[in-house]
Symmetry: C2
Subunit: 332 residues, 2 copies
C-alpha cells in the first residue's frame, strides 16, 4: 500500500486531481505540468490503485473467464489468447474452473460479478434461461453457445461435422456412430443434429452417450461401439476419440483397420497418438481473442439496452490423418 496519488501530488506540487488527470486525461494538462507529474510518479514508483479507481468509476478493468475444465487441452490455448488480448486492452483476467458443473458455473458468475466488468462463459453447461438471467446482472459473452441477445463466438461445428461424416461416407462406411459429449453442451447438440441429416440415406448414425468429455469416457464406450457393429465413429472431442482408440485397442479392434475414428478440436494430442488422429480443427485461440473483444466492446458502450448482440462464427476444417480408412472388405 505504498505510494498514493497524494504522495505524487505533494512531490509534484500540484493537487491530487491534477495527478489523476495526468494519467486519465493527459491532454487536458499543460505539457510542463503533465511532465512534472509523470516524472514525480516515476521517481516515486507510483501506480494508480486499480481498486480505488474501480470504486469510483464502477469499472474494474477485469474480466472473468469461466471454463468447464482447465485441464481439458481444448481450453489452454483459448485462455492464453484471451489473457493476451485482455492485457493488450489493459484488462486482467480471472480464471475459474467450473468442473463441468452447471451449478458451480452459475455460482462462479455471481462470485466474480462484483469485481469484473463482464464474464466470458466458455462451453457453458448452464441453461439458456439461466444465462439470460445472469446477463441481467453482468455483461456476458459466450463461447460455443448461442443465446439471443447475448454476444457470442461459436465454431462452425455444423460444417465440421458435415465434412467429417461425408469423409466417412466417401470412404465407404455405411454404419456410423456419433459418440456424444455432455448433454448440456450446445456444440454437442449441433453435432448430434447434423450427423443424421448428413448421412441421409447413404448411411445410418447411431448416437451413443451422453458422455463426459474425457479419455476415460471414450474407453468406456468402446465396448458399446463394437456391439453396435458400426465401422466408423465421430466423437464429441479428441479426448473421447483417443479414449475410444485405446479402448478399442484393448478389445483387439484395430483403428482404422476395423473401425475408423474421427475426433473434434485438433488438440496437440491428436498428432501424438498412433494412429495419428483424424480430427476437426477448431480455432480455439481465435475464439479466446474474439470473445474478449466482443465483451469489451459490449461493455464499453454506455447504453446497455438495445444494442444488437454480435455473433462471430469461426471456420472449422477437417484434418485427415491416420485414424480413418475405408471399411474392411471394401476392396480398396
Amino acid at each position: 500500500m505504498a505510494v498514493t496519488i497524494k504522495d505524487v501530488a505533494r512531490e509534484a506540487q500540484v493537487h491530487m486531481s491534477t495527478v489523476s488527470r495526468a494519467f486519465s486525461m493527459p491532454h487536458r494538462l499543460r505539457p510542463e505540468t503533465r511532465d512534472r507529474v509523470l516524472e514525480a510518479a516515476r521517481i516515486l514508483g507510483y501506480r494508480p490503485s486499480r481498486v480505488a479507481r474501480a470504486l469510483t468509476t464502477g469499472r474494474t478493468r477485469n474480466i472473468g473467464f469461466i471454463v468447464a475444465d482447465i485441464a481439458n487441452p481444448f481450453f489452454p490455448p483459448m485462455i492464453k489468447a484471451a489473457e493476451h488480448t485482455a492485457r493488450s486492452r489493459d484488462h486482467h483476467l480471472f480464471i475459474a474452473d467450473a468442473s463441468e458443473d452447471p451449478a458451480i458455473e452459475a455460482e462462479l458468475v455471481d462470485a466474480l460479478a462484483k469485481q469484473v466488468d463482464g464474464v466470458i462463459l466458455c462451453g457453458p453447461r448452464i441453461a439458456n434461461a439461466k444465462i439470460e438471467n445472469l446477463s441481467e446482472t453482468i455483461p456476458i459473452a459466450l463461447v460455443n453457445r448461442k443465446v439471443t441477445g447475448i454476444p457470442s463466438v461459436t465454431m462452425d461445428v455444423v460444417h465440421g461435422a458435415r465434412v467429417a461424416i461425408r469423409h466417412l461416407l466417401d470412404l465407404g462406411h455405411e454404419r456410423l456412430a456419433y459418440v456424444s459429449g455432455p448433454r448440456q453442451s450446445w456444440t454437442n447438440t449441433q453435432i448430434r443434429r447434423t450427423v443424421g441429416a448428413t448421412a441421409g440415406d447413404r448411411g445410418t448414425v447411431t448416437v451413443l452417450g451422453p458422455n463426459t468429455p474425457t479419455e476415460d469416457a471414450g474407453m468406456a464406450v468402446a465396448a458399446e461401439i463394437v456391439r453396435t457393429g458400426v465401422t466408423a465413429v465421430l466423437a464429441y472431442n479428441d479426448l473421447i476419440a483417443i479414449g475410444i482408440i485405446e479402448g478399442l485397442d484393448a478389445l483387439g479392434v484395430s483403428v482404422p483397420g476395423d473401425v475408423s475414428v474421427i475426433g473434434i478440436d485438433d488438440t496437440v494430442l491428436g498428432r501424438l497418438t498412433r494412429p495419428r488422429l483424424t480430427t476437426i480443427n477448431v480455432p480455439t485461440a481465435d475464439a479466446g481473442t474474439a470473445a474478449v473483444d466482443l465483451l469489451l466492446q459490449y461493455t464499453a458502450g454506455d447504453e446497455d439496452a438495445s444494442r444488437p448482440a454480435a455473433h462471430v462464427s469461426l471456420p472449422t476444417e477437417l484434418i485427415i490423418r491416420d485414424s480413418t480408412a475405408p471399411p474392411r472388405g471394401s476392396g480398396s
Copy 2:
C-alpha cells in the same frame, strides 16, 4: 452496481455497520438481528462489494498466478488445482502468461500487484535478485525455484533425474545426453548439475542446449543427438522428449531401438505417443495447491518481517514405459 450495504441496512432497519458485521463478524450480533439482516440481504440479492472491501481492508482476496506458458501441458493441472484451492479459501485467481519472457514476467507482477494480496510465480524465468526485489513490494510464492527468504514449493527433480540416469545406466547405456531447457529455469539447473554427478564413472553425459521447452525444439535437437553418438537421452520435459522422438524418427533413428529417451513431467502426452514415453512424474496439481496455501499463510500473518519462509518439496517418481531399452548390441 445494484444493491449496496445501505439498501440492506434500510431494509433490515439497522445501521450499515450492523450489516457489515452480519457478514464479517456474525457472532458479535444478536441472533435475531443477524438473521433479519441476512434475510434482508438475501431478499435484495446483496453481495458485498469486494472492491470496496479491498479498499478499506487493504486485502483484495485475490491472487496472481503467473506461468511461463499456459499452453504448456505442464501448467493447466497446476492452474486448476490452484484455482480450486484459492476458491475454497474465498480467493480469486488472476491468470497471466509470461510467454517465457523474464521482462514480461516482472512487468506482470507489477501490473497485478495493486489488486492482489500476493503473486505465485511458476517456473519463474526472472533472476533471483529481481524476485527478491519484487517480493519487497508484494508477497511472492515460488513454484520450482528456491530463493532464500521466499516461500516456495519445488518438485524433487534432483531425485527424479538421479533415478532416470540410473535407469539408463542400469540398462547398459554409457554415452548419455541431457537435452536442457531454458537457461533461466531453476529446474533445468538442478537437473543439469545432477546428471553428470550421477553418471560418475559409469558413463558420460553430454549437455545439449539450452532449448525452449517445446516440441519443435526437441525435433530440432534430434540431429545433434545423432551426431554426438549417445545412446540415451534425458530431456528437460515431455514436450522436448516427444519432439526428440519425432525428430529421431524422421531421421530414421528408432526409439528405443537405437536411442532411449526419457522425459520429465509426466503430462498426458506421454501416455499417448508411440512408443509411450518413459518419464518422471511430478505432482503439478499438488504444487498448485501447496503454493496457494503457502502464499495465503504468508499473507495472513501480520508481522511481515522475520517469519521464516516455508519450503515445500514434493516427491517425484520414474514412470517406466516404452521409450527406454538396453542399447543396441547389448546382448539382452
